[in-house]
Chain length 344, copies 2
Amino acid sequence: MPRLAIIGLGLIGGSLGLAIKRAQLENLEIVGYDAERGVVGRARKMGAVDSAARRATSAVEGAAAVIIATPVLQVAKVLEEIAPALEDGAVVSDTASTKREVVRWAGELLPDTVDFVGGHPIAGKEQSGIEAADASLFEGRPWALTPTAATSERAIKTIENLVTVVGARPVLIDAEEHDSYLAAVSHLPALLSTVLFSLASQSQAWPELASLAGPGFRDATRLASGSPAMSHDISLTNRENLLHWLDRFSEELGRFRNLIEEGEERGDLYKAFLKAQTTRDAFLLELPSHAGPEKKVDIMSAGEQMLSLMVGEYLVRRTKEIGELLERRAADDDGDASRSPKGR
Amino acid sequence: MPRLAIIGLGLIGGSLGLAIKRAQLENLEIVGYDAERGVVGRARKMGAVDSAARRATSAVEGAAAVIIATPVLQVAKVLEEIAPALEDGAVVSDTASTKREVVRWAGELLPDTVDFVGGHPIAGKEQSGIEAADASLFEGRPWALTPTAATSERAIKTIENLVTVVGARPVLIDAEEHDSYLAAVSHLPALLSTVLFSLASQSQAWPELASLAGPGFRDATRLASGSPAMSHDISLTNRENLLHWLDRFSEELGRFRNLIEEGEERGDLYKAFLKAQTTRDAFLLELPSHAGPEKKVDIMSAGEQMLSLMVGEYLVRRTKEIGELLERRAADDDGDASRSPKGR
């Protein structure tokens, strides 16, 4: 039975397992591993994985596909650790929020006998950890895939199908571009959210502020509740892009500061608020086309295709092995025959 | 029948009307007015008001309580316009997001024969306008009330009861303090949200950014969809506090910028993210006690009390008028008697 390994069973890894199980693909075994004690057991009880591995290396043994769902900086360590244990022809992917460094690490650390496809599901929620895992987390969400020129078509297709099976929409994109864009729409917003919450909660008036905080404050600071390890790793692996957008944000904040100081009634400040509102309304109206898959995709056929792609390389290898075995046997037979007492 | 007037039927005014109607108070008529053509008709069809006035002045005629639910800068204009038409003893309140200027205007523009209690429901949503009105908008939310030393107990109690009837929790607070605190937890977050959306949407890469934007970006920029008039008016009527918090935010952003540049693995940057996350988790855990009323309140009795407080002054005045009328009649009778042909 083809085997899929998930290394790292937090919100993303756990949700991935649940979403694949929900698709009810036959003939697929999901093996899970998590470095934190007890997590893989909880994942198995929740039905996110079929079996629990005690080491990352034993999880990937015999696995046709491996998904690494850890914070970014852990990905390098996992790649290094599993590299010697990976099957020939295995397809490896990840779910980390930054892609340039991950793709570089994979190029350096993985053997040529496997394929790597960088991946990033653009989905999430306030909570982290296996307890927050949710089979519908990826539904209608974009899932960025960052293959390089060296990545095989089969590997890309395998991961595209996996992404489709869990309800997401694969988006092929260059790793550098991915990191630049995500800095603007994900990493900077998360940082601003943390800075705002940090500022308010360090104020002497925090008890009063907290009691008067409305849903607006809650939404604006939601990303401050994201995993600290994830935010930290993102900041370090996408530093240049993040600082670039941070500085552009400071400039734009300065522009609004001037407009507020000028304070002309129904002047440029009003126009700036009006423009942001109308542009965002247009953005929200277009969301349905962004959110859903552009064409109807047959999830079951994507699943079957994924499985056949996952096992394809094995069949080729096994056929070759069987061929070689038969050849050896034939040679042995010849030898045996020549030594046969009966003769020809 | 006691009459309540709502001037301004956007999200807040409309939701207020719907929430009061849902409480099914007997003997209360809600008269609505909105400066925008057609809005009051839609409010009546939605059941947010019982009757539609063609002018703000005619809406407040005979009204025991008046709620002004317009953007801040409009409140001054409405106060000026309705002042001559207000009944003696009427209780006037508002729902604007900043309170210092509003309280000052009320002191200058309203006659001494009425009471003003500044109010601010700390509730809202992305959409604005009567179409977005929602009877449950205020449920469990704080509703700041900013009476001055000159405000009568009866007026405070009337508005407190009204706020309780719609499911909110009245919070008595000084107007200056309110504006300072709200700058931190509401006005600054809304500004940051607008600045972030403005920055991203003006980028040349906006189509790509929009297609990769996840729920995090949507939440972080939600407040950019608020009413531009409201955001503009808030910025101008709470300028000093907003600029103060904006500058403190820039400092805190600079602190995080340095931590990212230093980029020590699992160092101070990680600690800063961790602290924000754990503090916010504690904040969310405490929310239930913030969100709900501290003690069980009997909504119906609050409603009856509100009505009796609303009509109380009238009864006193009517009794006085009836007394005067009777005295005049008695005097007339005496006169008549003295002129009676029958004599004594």
